[in-house]
């Protein structure tokens, strides 16, 4: 007999009790929803009456930069450690309307500023699949929670790879939706022209289900347009299960220093080519090398701008007095770039390069259905290991271009190197999440 929501919640809460702060010390969950047990009971009652929504029984962790009424949206920072959300973000409202259960708030890099999950003021998140290694960030706790069996699904936010990078390292599925497909209302922003809220799950079908619920136009978010996935069954099979025919894949020609990652990737591509008769071609993206240099001036400037409200008057502490080194670096960087004498020198150059990257992807999608590459060109480092800023930038090298272009991308597990999971990134043109999920599901079936 299938377990009900209350029973499943109990199992997850026990697992959190065993391995979050003690045991494996994953440190993925910062706060448990005190009303979760009552809410699970209400959901089970609705299920019994046949009135429950699409997410009935699904147990979901939420990144700490998304507002959930009454829970702490600390953003992984001492600045907001006591900040209780006075309202639900639009994505949370949608989840609650469809009877998803919020189990608690997940750890993350401070204000989503990080690649590894180590910049959280509440400690680094341990990688459940490779203890002692970083989980990846910034949605570190969200991906680690799914990977450690603390929940069914999670919400994260992705500005340069913050869902896909930790999804890759933790061996789970993570989607960066098209810019504008999911409302950002209630997301504590890091870089408003790049941020997107997205789903993290144990498999592609669950990621598609959560995306289907949270996507859609919202008048409260000026750039929101919406996007749809077809969860409906065609005959006995959900549409996402149907393997698309005549797919043409562009494989990014990019130097991956770790040959073990490259080998796993090449094998997967060959397998798909053979089994599904898909066409595969190597492609060179001229502007991909400019992505990091383009991404950071935009992020620094927009982050500096959005942190000006954190002055300690209405809530929290003054940010410069309570933040950690990476957040401070970005505030200083944004402040420098915004100074009058630099006007046009950095930010405008970055916007120009961004447009070129966007155009290049657009042109490529005229010839290819999707673009594929490893999600991260390197393995995660050990927690606390000192690495250079250049090494840190490598984490986002293949994910940040897709935030700049605004297209949608998913990371799915493709294998392991030394028992550490590695992910494959599949990219489709803006608002083509349906096709993206179908291709990802086809790879998952190999």
């Amino acid at each position: 007999m299938e377990m009900n929501t209350q029973e499943r919640l109990k199992i997850y809460l026990n697992e959190i009790e065993r391995n979050n702060k003690t045991g494996n010390k994953i440190n993925a969950i910062l706060e448990i929803n005190p009303h979760a047990i009552d809410e699970a009971k209400q959901i089970d009652d609705k299920i019994k009456k046949g009135k429950a929504g699409k997410l009935a029984g699904k147990i979901i962790a939420v990144k700490s930069n998304i507002n959930v009424l009454g829970l702490t949206a600390s953003c992984g920072s001492k600045v907001l450690e006591n900040y209780k959300s006075p309202y639900d973000a639009e994505v949370i409202k949608k989840i609650k309307d469809e009877d998803g259960l919020i189990i608690g708030m997940a750890n993350c890099d401070e204000f989503a500023c990080g690649w590894s999950g180590e910049t959280s003021a509440f400690g680094a998140t341990n990688n459940p699949q490779a203890l002692g290694y970083v989980s990846g960030g910034s949605s570190s706790g969200s991906c680690a929670s799914v990977s450690a069996d603390f929940c069914d699904m999670a919400l994260g936010s992705d500005t340069g790879g913050s869902i896909r990078v930790p999804a890759s390292h933790c061996g789970v599925v993570g989607l960066k939706p098209s810019y504008g497909s999911v409302s950002r209302y209630g997301l504590i922003d890091m870089s408003m022209s790049l941020d997107q809220v997205g789903p993290i799950a144990k498999n592609v079908s669950d990621a598609a289900l959560l995306f289907d619920v949270i996507a859609g136009r919202d008048e409260k978010d000026a750039i929101s347009v919406g996007s749809k996935v077809e969860m409906r069954k065609i005959g006995d099979v959900p549409k996402i299960e149907s393997i698309p025919r005549n797919i043409k894949i562009g494989v990014i020609d990019f130097k991956i220093n770790d040959s073990r990652i490259q080998r796993i990737f090449d094998e997967k591509i060959k397998e798909a080519e053979k089994k599904y008769k898909w066409k595969v071609e190597k492609i060179k993206l001229d502007y991909i090398d400019f992505a990091v240099a383009t991404y950071f001036p935009i992020v620094y400037t927009e982050f500096f701008s959005c942190t000006r409200r954190l002055d300690g008057r209405r809530f929290g502490k003054r940010i410069e007095e309570a933040c950690g080194p990476e957040v401070l670096r970005r505030i200083i960087g944004g402040s420098e770039i915004s100074r009058a004498e630099h006007a046009g020198r950095y930010y405008h150059l970055a916007l120009k390069a961004r447009k070129l990257i966007e155009e290049e992807f657009k042109k490529t999608f005229k010839k290819f259905d999707c673009i594929i590459c490893p999600t991260v060109p390197r393995l995660p480092h050990r927690i606390g290991e000192k690495i250079s800023i250049e090494e840190m930038f490598q984490y986002d090298a293949l994910t940040s271009p897709i935030n700049l272009s605004g297209d949608c991308a998913i990371s799915i597990p493709m294998g392991e190197v030394d028992k550490i999971p590695v992910g494959m990134q599949i990219i489709c043109e803006k608002f083509n999440e349906q096709k993206l999920f179908q291709i990802a599901r086809s790879f998952e079936k190999l």
Partner: protein
């Protein structure tokens, strides 16, 4: 570089500024090599210029908002206490 979170001293803050200056300079040099000319348009449109606030007004939201504020009076949040000049 140390990416672990920690409280920072004034000296560390000074060092952070130097690090950032060098990072921004390297980005700037890289971007300056772009030769293509391209127009950038960042306008965003929505149906109505002004957004209707509407929505549910929860009493609990007001309560939490006041609880979050470090300095408040009965029904207002105190931004800064200074004498008028």
């Amino acid at each position: 570089m140390d990416f672990l979170w920690r409280q920072m001293s004034d000296k560390e803050k000074e060092d952070a500024k130097k690090q950032v200056d060098s990072i921004i300079d390297s980005f700037s040099k890289k971007l300056s090599t772009l030769k293509d000319k391209i127009e950038v348009d960042n306008s965003i449109e929505r149906e109505n210029f002004e957004r209707s606030e509407g929505g549910e007004k929860l009493e609990i939201s007001k309560k939490i908002m006041f609880e979050n504020a470090p300095d408040k009076n009965n029904d207002f949040i105190i931004g800064e206490k200074k004498s008028w000049k």
